[in-house]
């Protein structure tokens, strides 16, 4: 172990402070669950339920909030309305109070919503996320904020407002209001810290509050000068970023903090233990997406440094949901990967692994240099983006390809021609094309309307271009636009085609009509037909004929997306295949499918095989699943994740870390893009599912994000359970 990677032995005082934040997180989580109906199925955010918070927004006559100026004014008032908050054992001040849209009717003004012809398609194909009005799915470059501070950002806005002198000042009005609101927010926390210092009963807390007051006062006047001030700046950013449409990206966090850490560490003014405490305080503040590791753009040097390890240790010490990724590539600092894996084996979950080869070589296929591709950092639950220069909108669209199949089967059976597999495929492609085209049209619409309604008022500050040009990042503020479209339910579609091919076409056990009647009746009274269709060798099994359907479907989908930009504004579109955890949601309205899936049952996840896929001569294994996911990546740099849920009882205790490292590296080299890893025993997951409250500390990686297991709804918990336990094991 080198000095760079050495674990820090924490003093009991610091351990206790971090433990205290962990316990508060559990407490506030419980409060949130009580308030929000017993479960939260998205990222475990750091917001606090302030009971006393009430807010009456300024609105247009129609009762809505839209437009940069009005949003800025409202956010300024809202940030002032949030009670000041400092956890007594945290190094940092501030918290957010839930998303702003919970307090105001914000969105696209009447008339700017998607047109009726698109809505008809959304209705027909059950499209809930079409990209129109999508927000916040881009990554900021936080070096802009750290170099300027809030005061510097204000000066920058004023400078460019004067320099550009636009006819319509709404954009600069809004941005300026927002930053003024942030300065007031910082001021209130400085004052609050002074008050708390006066009331503190012991020396540590008195000094701590005074220090927090001082750093916040400094941040009123200047950019962050110290490690702690930098983290405080980032914490305040996290609070306002989450407030506005739940933004959640920090970026390459080790490199953001390295200059401060190295300077103070050298000067002897910051110990490693303090650094861990301060980072843990930032993690307590919120679960923003960030990354450690990776390479400099030319690929000649790794980015791993001492602070990378300290950040990693902070996630381990506080042991609450976090959204940190370790970047994995050939030639990386293996010790960083080993440490991350060891923490996961110890804690059950931890960081996720963003995989360079698939992400970078794929992104380069869009016509970008590899140097740029290497800069794409993990800044979203499943996705990477170029901090501050790219508008990617990943994870905001879902095209349920299984709906295309359902309509295709109806068309085929209603037609006059003899049904055939290729006939079904042709109908499927026609419907899939409608879905893809609809999404491209939706993006054109989004492009036209979003900036005048809900500009990225927070993230514009941390991008290269918007303030300088006076343009929202979605509308020429940043140079690179590559809008993602996610096609989902790959295995549902592939297994359906394979089931028809095997049972109807090849074996002739069923006629087309018998199969169709059974599917249309949701297999009522036809359980044997359902089982017949369901028991084929499914996608993921090593010798499965379904694999060719999965690859054919993927190839066709990718070709449809990449073959043309959006028709009106010629915006670049990039294929993705991420379903998020919404496999139940997107299954709800989907009729029964020929893979033996009942109407309303969940669809398959991203490009993963369905749970229970391995039934043949080869038993289930993580490698089978990893191979299937690697083979079906969309291939243009946007991730389709692999969920590895490892039963630690199955993993050799000694050498467990080596095994997982080999698995992660091999998947990376095969072209995989992201690994979400959980390492718990089957017994623990069974216990927690039966009684979630019995495992309040159990953190799991759901898809790209992590959350307390006990916070999730039964359906979301079931997803994790299905990944761990076979149907038989669940009956025990």
């Amino acid at each position: 172990m080198s000095a760079m990677s050495e674990r820090v032995e924490l003093s009991s005082e610091v351990r206790q402070r971090i433990r205290s934040m962990h316990d508060s997180k559990i407490y506030y989580n419980d409060e949130k669950l009580k308030r929000y109906g017993g479960h939260i199925d998205i990222d475990d955010h750091g917001f606090i339920c302030f009971n006393e918070l009430e807010f009456a927004p300024e609105t247009h006559e129609d009762g809505m909030v839209y437009g940069c100026g009005m949003i800025g004014r409202n956010l300024r008032r809202f940030m002032n309305a949030i009670p000041a908050y400092i956890h007594p054992d945290s190094a940092l001040a501030g918290a957010w109070a839930g998303v702003f849209q919970r307090f105001a009717n914000i969105g696209l003004r009447p008339g700017d919503e998607a047109p009726a012809e698109l809505k008809a398609i959304y209705e027909k194909y059950d499209i809930h996320q079409n990209g129109v009005g999508a927000m916040n799915h881009l990554g900021p470059d936080m070096t802009i904020g750290l170099r300027l501070g809030w005061r510097g950002l204000l000066d920058k806005i004023r400078y460019y407002r004067k320099f550009n002198a636009p006819a319509d000042t709404d954009f600069y009005d809004g941005e300026e209001e927002l930053v003024l609101g942030m300065l007031e927010y910082v001021r209130r926390h400085a004052d609050y810290a002074r008050e708390m210092a006066a009331q503190a009963e012991d020396a540590f807390h008195r000094n701590n509050y005074q220090e927090i007051a001082k750093i916040n006062e400094n941040l009123l006047e200047a950019p962050p000068r110290t490690f702690r001030e930098a983290c405080q700046f980032l914490a305040h950013f996290q609070s306002v970023d989450r407030t506005y449409y739940a933004g959640g990206a920090l970026g390459q966090i080790d490199e953001l903090l390295r200059p401060y850490y190295e300077k103070e560490s050298k000067a002897g003014t910051l110990s490693d233990e303090e650094a861990i405490w301060i980072v843990a305080s930032l993690l307590y503040n919120d679960t923003h997406y960030c990354q450690v590791g990776g390479q400099i753009p030319d690929g000649s040097r790794g980015l791993t440094s001492r602070i990378s390890y300290l950040i990693l240790q902070a996630t381990h010490e506080i042991h609450i949901p976090n959204n940190l990724a370790v970047r994995v590539y050939e030639g990386m600092d293996e010790e960083l990967l080993r440490r991350a894996v060891e923490y996961i084996l110890e804690d059950g979950s931890g960081v996720c692994f963003s995989l360079s080869k698939g992400c970078e070589e794929g992104f380069a296929k869009n016509g970008h240099p590899m140097e740029l591709a290497r800069m794409r950092a993990k800044v979203g639950c499943n996705w990477t983006a170029l901090p501050g220069i790219e508008y990617p909108l990943q994870d905001v669209t879902r095209l349920n390809m299984a709906f295309a199949l359902v309509h295709a089967l109806d068309d085929l059976m209603a037609g006059e021609e003899e049904p055939s597999l290729e006939g079904l495929w042709e109908h499927f492609c026609r419907h899939l094309q409608i879905l893809v085209d609809c999404n491209k049209d939706s993006y054109d619409w989004h492009y036209e309307v979003v900036s005048r309604n809900t500009p990225e008022i927070v993230l514009n500050l941390f991008c290269h271009g918007p303030i300088e040009r006076g343009l929202n990042c979605a509308q020429g503020g940043v140079d690179i636009i590559g809008l993602n479209v996610d096609g989902i339910a790959l295995a549902t579609v592939a297994d359906s085609f394979a089931a028809i091919e095997e049972r109807v076409v090849r074996e002739k056990r069923l006629t087309w009509q018998e199969m169709y009647d059974a599917v249309k009746s949701d297999f009522a009274g036809k359980e044997n037909i359902r089982l017949m269709l369901n028991s084929i060798s499914r996608f993921g099994a090593p010798d499965s004929p379904a694999e060719k359907w999965a690859i054919r479907t993927r190839d066709t989908y990718v070709q449809m997306v990449t073959s043309s930009p959006t028709p009106k504004h010629h915006l670049k579109v990039i294929p993705g295949m991420f379903s998020h955890g919404d496999v139940y949601y997107y299954g709800e309205k989907l009729p029964a499918t020929p893979n033996g899936r009942h109407a309303g049952d969940p669809i398959s996840h991203s490009t993963e095989p369905d749970p229970g896929f391995a039934k043949g001569i080869a038993s289930f294994s993580p490698t089978l699943k990893a191979n299937a996911v690697a083979k079906t990546q969309p291939g243009y740099g946007n991730s389709a994740p692999l969920h590895l849920d490892i039963d630690t009882d199955m993993l050799g205790r000694e050498g467990g870390a080596d095994t997982l490292m080999a698995l992660i590296h091999a998947h990376e080299q095969m072209g995989g893009t992201l690994i979400n890893l959980n390492c718990i025993t089957k017994e623990q997951i069974r216990r927690a599912h039966a009684d979630p409250a019995s495992e309040p500390d159990l953190v799991v990686r759901v898809t790209g994000y992590s959350a307390f297991f006990a916070s999730l709804s039964r359906e979301y918990r079931q997803q994790i359970v299905d990944r761990y336990l076979t149907a038989e094991e669940q009956k025990v």
């Binding site: 993580p622 000694e654 091999a666």
Partner: protein
């Protein structure tokens, strides 16, 4: 015949196997065994022919198996319960082919070495990364020598590390044949005395120990694996060589004496577990429940081996 065309019968392929040799491995379970270990957790490996496994809890009562069986082996007993008359069942698999509920399954598949190798090859990146490879197990993989040799040959040509997991009860010539092709032997030692061994497995251990000594003399890389099986649960049977229900724990130190002079890479203890119980029921086989050993007890014996200079280890 090229190695790819040689046929054999297997009953399972387990990728990401981490207990059968170093690194990430794919373990291939050959069907057919010449031992009958009383504690065996892979009883479906006994016969060389495919067998029908029946899990009645999955049955939806469609009756297809009754209709399709050419030997009328599916019967209702006097209480109206669906059973398989094993005397009539030939393992043709016709019923399993119709059982979409998965209650009936044909265990065992006849494959070519080429077909199987294509499947194994898919995980070669994991093998290379982890220092792993393929383990041939069973059943007794050495009882299908041509098939084993064909697979070892293909793996060697492809640079894939191989381990042969064997109980060693075959003529020494078979080891001579594969010695140049196998990278590692996982060699079971189940008892010290031949009488005990016969009682526990149905055969004596003279040939087994001779083969082990031969491999050691020839410089083969060997990891000896010792199943640690306490006596039958609840039974007060004497711990004697003639009593199968007494398990093998009482002979551990005698095993150590046998292993001491050999050149072994490691000696691993495998604690008895009960995962095979359900499988025995599905094959209508008699079930003997041995005691599940306390990890500390295994660790204690392991420590005694180490004290004697034997590189023993036990992973809980």
């Amino acid at each position: 015949m090229s190695p790819r065309e040689v046929r054999g019968t297997i009953f399972n392929v387990q990728p990401f196997s981490v207990y059968d040799g170093p690194g990430i491995r794919t373990t291939v379970f050959f069907k057919g065994c010449n031992l009958r270990c009383v504690w065996c957790h892979n009883p479906e490996s006994y016969t060389y022919e495919p067998q029908i496994q029946f899990q009645p809890e999955k049955c939806i009562g469609c009756g297809a198996c009754f209709a399709v069986c050419p030997r009328k082996a599916h019967v209702l007993d006097e209480e109206g319960v669906h059973r398989i008359d094993r005397r009539n069942c030939t393992g043709c698999g016709a019923c399993a082919g119709e059982c979409f509920a998965g209650a009936l399954a044909l265990t065992g598949r006849n494959v070519t070495a080429g077909e199987l190798f294509s499947m194994l090859e898919q995980d070669r990146d994991y093998f290379a990364r982890s220092g792993g490879g393929v383990t041939f197990s069973g059943g007794e993989c050495m009882t299908q020598p041509e098939f084993l040799k064909a697979l070892l040959t293909q793996c060697r040509e492809a640079g894939i590390h191989t381990a042969v997991d064997t109980a060693g009860c075959v003529p020494s010539e078979r080891f001579e044949e594969i010695l140049p092709l196998a990278d590692l032997f996982l060699y079971d030692v189940k008892a010290a005395r031949s009488e005990t061994h016969r009682c526990l497995t149905g055969v004596g251990n003279e040939q087994i120990l001779d083969n082990l000594r031969m491999l050691s003399d020839r410089g083969a890389r060997i990891i000896v694996r010792i199943p640690y099986v306490p006596g039958e649960e609840g039974a007060q049977g004497a711990q004697s060589a003639g009593n199968a229900l007494a398990g093998n724990v009482h002979e551990m130190l005698e095993i150590a004496e046998i292993l001491k002079p050999l050149r072994l890479e490691a000696v691993e203890f495998l604690a008895y577990h009960r995962l095979g119980e359900g499988k025995r029921a599905s094959l209508d086989m008699e079930l003997k429940k041995f005691g599940v050993p306390a990890p500390d007890a295994v660790e204690e014996v392991c420590a005694k081996f180490r004290k004697m200079g034997i590189p023993a280890r036990y992973s809980r």
